[in-house]
Amino acid sequence: MFTYIKLRSPLMSVFLLLVVFSSLTLTTELAWSADTIIETAEQAADATIEKKAAPRMGPSDYRQIGSVSSRAFVWVVAQLHLFLAAFVLAVPLFVTVIEWIGVKTGDQRYDDMAHEFMKVSMTAYSLTALFGGTLAFSLFLLYPTFMAYMMEVFGNQVMVYALLFFLESGVLYIYYYSWYALRYGNKKYVHLSLGVLLNGVGTTLLFVANAWATFMMAPSGVDEAGVVTGGIWDIMRGPLWNPLNLHRFVANIAFGGAVVGAYAGYKMLSARTMAQRAHYDWMGYTSNFIAVLAFLPLPFAGYWLMAEIYAYSQQMGITAMGGILAWLFIVQAVLIGTILLAANYYLWNGMSRCEGSKRYTWLIKYIAVTLVGSFLIWVTPHTLILSAKEIADLGGSHHPLLGPFGIMPAKNIAVNLMLIGTFLSFQLYRRSDKEITVAWAGFGNALMAAIYLVAIANVIFLGVYYGYYTNTVYKVGSSVAQVMSTLIVIIAGVTIDTMMFKGAKNLPVTWGKISNRGVYALFALPIAFTWLMALMGYVRSSVRTHWHVYTVIKDNSTDNFIPNIGYAANMMTVATVAFLILILFIFWVASLSETRQAVPVQKSEQ
C-alpha cells in the first residue's frame, strides 16, 4: 500500500512547493485576480454582446417535470447539495487544525483522528459534486430564463467557480492520499500547507457560490431594470455577501463537527474493545467540542446578517422577523434549544470520565434548571397572539401584529441565559481534569464568579427594564447590550482560564467512561443542526417574497408564494431524511475500506 503512494522525494517536493506557492498567491490575491480576469474578459465580451435588462417572466419561462412542483424539486436537490457541501468544506477545516495540533503536541492520536475524519469526508465529496451537477441541470431545465439572466450577470465568474472546483478536487485527493507519505519531519509541513491550500480553495468556492444567493436577495452591480452596470466585483460584493460568508463559514464548521460527532458516537457504541471505545469517545468529544465552539458565535453572525438585511431593506428585515415568517422562530428556538440542551447533557455526562469533576457536580442541577426554564420561556409563543385566521383577517400575508415577537425581551433573556449556562458547563468540563496551581487561584475563581453574576443580572435587568418599560429603539439597543454581556462572559472565561491553567496539574481522564445515554446527545446534535440549516434556508429564500432576484426579476411562477411553515417543514424533513440516508451510505463506504475479510487461517484484524 505504502509503496504504491510513495512519493519520489525531490521531484515531489518541487511539485508540492509549486502547489503551495500557487496557493499563497491564490489565497492572498484571489479576490484581485478573479476580479481582473473576469473584468477583462467581460470588457472583451462587452464589445459584442449588448447588455440586457432582466426578463419579465411569463408561463413559458418555467418548466416542470411531470406534475412535480419545480420549486419542491429544486428545493430538495439544492438542500442536499448544501448539506453535503457544508460537510465537505467544513471537515478539512478542522482536520487541518487537528493535524496541526498533532504536530504541535507530538500526539499521534490527533494525526490518526484527523486522517479518519478526512476519510469520512472523501465519499461525501463526490456526492457533493453529483448533487451540485444535478442542481445546476435542474435549474437550467426548470428555470431556463432565470438562469440565462444569472449567466448574463455573473458571466465568466461561473467558470472561475468551475476552475476552483478542479483545483479543490486535485488538492483534496493529494491531501488525503499523501497523508502517510508526508507524515513526519519537514514533509509534514508540506502536508499541512496542502491542508491550508485546500481550505483556501474550499472557502473561496463557498464565497463565490454565496454571491449567487446574495445577489438574488440584494442585487448589486445592476440597475433597476436589471441591466448589468458594474464589474463582477460590484455584483459579488453586495450588502449581504460578507455577512452570509461569515455565517455559512462558521455554521459549516458546527455542522461538520456535529456530523462527524455522530459518526464517532456510532463507532463508540458499536466498539468491541476498550481501546476502540476510548478512541471514539475522544473523537466524539473533540467533534462535539468543535461543533459547539463554532455554534456559540453563530447567533452573533446571525445578528450581523440580520442587521445588514435591515439596512438593505427594512421591509425585507421585517418580513423575516415580524411577518408571517415570525412563527418560524419558534421552531428555530426549539432547534437551538435542543442543540444547547444536548450539548450540555453531553458535557455533564462526559464529566464522569474524570474524577476531578466531582468538585463541580453540585452546580449542574442549577445549570440544568436555568437551561430548561429558559428553553421553555423561549419556545412559548407567549407574545404571539394571532391565529392563522386572525392573520388572514388582517389582510393576509402582511399584517402588523406579529410584531411583538420581533422584540421579544423575555426571549432575549432566555437565549442569553442559555448561552451563558452552556458556556459555564463547558468551562466546568474543561476544569474538571485540572488541578489549578497558580497562586491567585482563589482570586481568579472569585473574579470569574463575579463576572457570571454581574452578566446574568445585567441580562435579566436589561431584558425586563428596557424590554417592557421603554420604546422600541431602547429594546433593540438593550438586546445588543445583553449579547455583549454574554460575549464578555465567554471572552473573560477563556482568558482567565488560560491564565489559570498555567502549570496546572492534569488529573487522569478515562476516555470511554461515559454512559451510552450521554452518547445519544451526539446523535441529537447533527439532526437538529441539519434541520436548522434547512429551516434557515427557508427563511433566507422566503424573504425575497415574490421575486427571483429581489426588485429585479419577479417570480411569476405558480410557486411565487411563501409556503406555510408546515409544508416547508415537510420539505425540510424530506431533505434531512435523504441526507441521513446519504450519510449512512458515506459512513458505510468509509468503514468498508477498514473491513478486511479474514485470511482463512488467521482471525480478522479490525
Binding site: L269, T319, S352, H398, N516, G566
Partner: protein, 326 residues
C-alpha cells in the same frame, strides 16, 4: 455508574445499535416536523395585480381600493403599525398630520397640501423624515413606493392617497383615474361590442370625463368645469366640443381633451351626455354648491381663473396614460 467493562462486553442486548440510533434520529425529526405543523399555517401570497374597471370606479370604491392596497399589496402595515417602526398611520389623523408636517420648519419638500405630501412621502420619502424615524438628510427607511419591490402604479398610489385623505373623515382631493385608453385596449381585445351606458352619469364616468372636469362629484380642474356648462354653450356647441374638441379651445386651457370620443361613444350615449350637460345650467348651482362650496362655482364664465389651480396638467395626463400602458 456501571463499570465500563460490563458495558462493553454486554452488547446492550435488544435491537441492533444502528436501529436504535436511527429510530432516535427519526423520532427527533418527527418531533420538529410535528411542531412546525402544529403552528398556524399561513402562506405569504404574492400580491395579485388588481384589475380595476376604471370606468366604473367611484370615489368610494377608489378609497376602498386604497385601503386594501395599504394593507395588502403596498405592505404599508408591515411598518405602519403600532410597533413603533414607522408612524402609526392607521390610528393617526393623516389629514391633520400632513398639514402639521408642512408647517414643520424642518420641512424642505415641495408639497403644498395633503395630497402632494402623501405622494411625496411615497415616492420621495427622504425629502422629509418624520422625527424619531431617522435624521433629516439621510435616506428614509420607508421604501420608494413606485419602485420595486412594492411597485405601486400611479392609479394605485392615487387610491392610497384617497384612502389616507378619507380615512379620518376628510374629503379626498385625488382625481379618479381616467380609463380612455384602457377602454380602447379592452374593446380591441374583446370582439363583442361594448354595452351602452344606461345614464348620462355612467357615460361621464366611463369615459373619464370626471378626471379632467368638475362634473358630477368630481372636483377636477384640468378642463373647464361642466356643472354650469349649459349656461355657457348651446347643445350644438357642447356636442361639437366633445366630438371635435380642437375645433374651439376653451380660453385658458391647454388643448389636451382627448379627440377620440367620437369613436368611442355610441350616438345614444353622446346624446344623453349632451342633454345632461346642457341641462346643467348655472341656475342649477344649488346642486354644486352643496357639494363643493369652496370651488368658486360663481365665476363660472371666468374660466382662466381655474388655470392657476391647475398644476401642470400635462404631467397628470401623461402619468395616467403611462399607467394604462401597463
Amino acid at each position: 455508574m456501571e463499570t465500563m467493562q460490563d458495558e462493553i462486553i454486554k452488547e446492550s442486548g435488544g435491537l441492533p445499535i444502528i436501529v436504535k440510533v436511527l429510530s432516535f434520529m427519526l423520532f427527533m425529526i418527527l418531533v420538529f416536523t410535528g411542531i412546525a405543523n402544529l403552528l398556524p399555517q399561513v402562506e405569504g401570497q404574492a400580491p395579485k395585480d388588481i384589475k380595476v374597471d376604471l370606468g366604473a370606479l367611484t370615489m368610494e370604491s377608489y378609497i376602498a381600493m386604497g385601503e386594501s392596497i395599504f394593507k395588502g399589496k403596498g405592505t404599508c402595515t408591515l411598518c405602519h403599525n403600532n410597533m413603533g417602526r414607522a408612524p402609526d398611520i392607521p390610528v393617526m389623523d393623516m389629514e391633520a398630520t400632513a398639514l402639521e408636517r408642512l408647517k414643520d420648519p424642518q420641512y424642505k419638500g415641495t408639497a403644498k397640501d395633503s395630497e402632494s405630501y402623501f405622494r411625496e412621502s411615497m415616492i420621495e420619502p427622504s425629502k422629509f423624515i418624520v422625527a424619531g424615524f431617522g435624521k433629516q438628510g439621510e435616506t428614509s427607511t420607508m421604501p420608494i413606493i413606485d419602485k420595486a419591490p412594492i411597485e405601486l402604479t400611479e392609479v394605485e398610489m392615487g387610491a392610497v392617497i384617497a384612502y389616507l385623505q378619507a380615512k379620518d373623515g376628510g374629503q379626498p382631493t385625488v382625481e379618479l383615474p381616467t380609463d380612455a385608453p384602457a377602454v380602447a385596449e379592452k374593446s380591441a381585445a374583446s370582439a363583442e361590442p361594448p354595452k351602452p351606458a344606461e345614464t348620462a352619469e355612467a357615460v361621464l364616468t366611463k369615459n373619464g370625463c370626471t378626471a379632467c372636469h368638475a362634473v358630477l362629484d368630481s372636483p377636477a380642474t384640468i378642463g373647464p368645469e361642466l356643472k354650469t356648462i349649459g349656461s355657457r354653450l348651446s347643445k350644438e356647441e357642447i356636442r361639437e366640443s366633445i366630438i371635435n374638441p380642437s375645433a374651439v379651445i376653451a380660453e385658458g386651457f391647454p388643448p389636451i381633451m382627448p379627440p377620440d370620443f367620437a369613436n368611442k361613444m355610441i350616438v345614444k350615449e353622446l346624446e344623453m351626455v349632451v342633454d345632461f350637460l346642457y341641462q346643467s345650467k348655472a341656475v342649477d348651482s344649488k346642486n354644486s354648491e352643496t357639494k363643493e362650496p369652496e370651488k368658486e362655482v360663481s365665476n363660472e364664465n371666468d374660466t382662466p381663473k381655474h388655470t392657476e389651480t391647475v398644476p401642470e396638467p400635462e404631467t397628470d395626463t401623461e402619468s395616467n396614460t403611462e399607467q394604462k400602458g401597463e
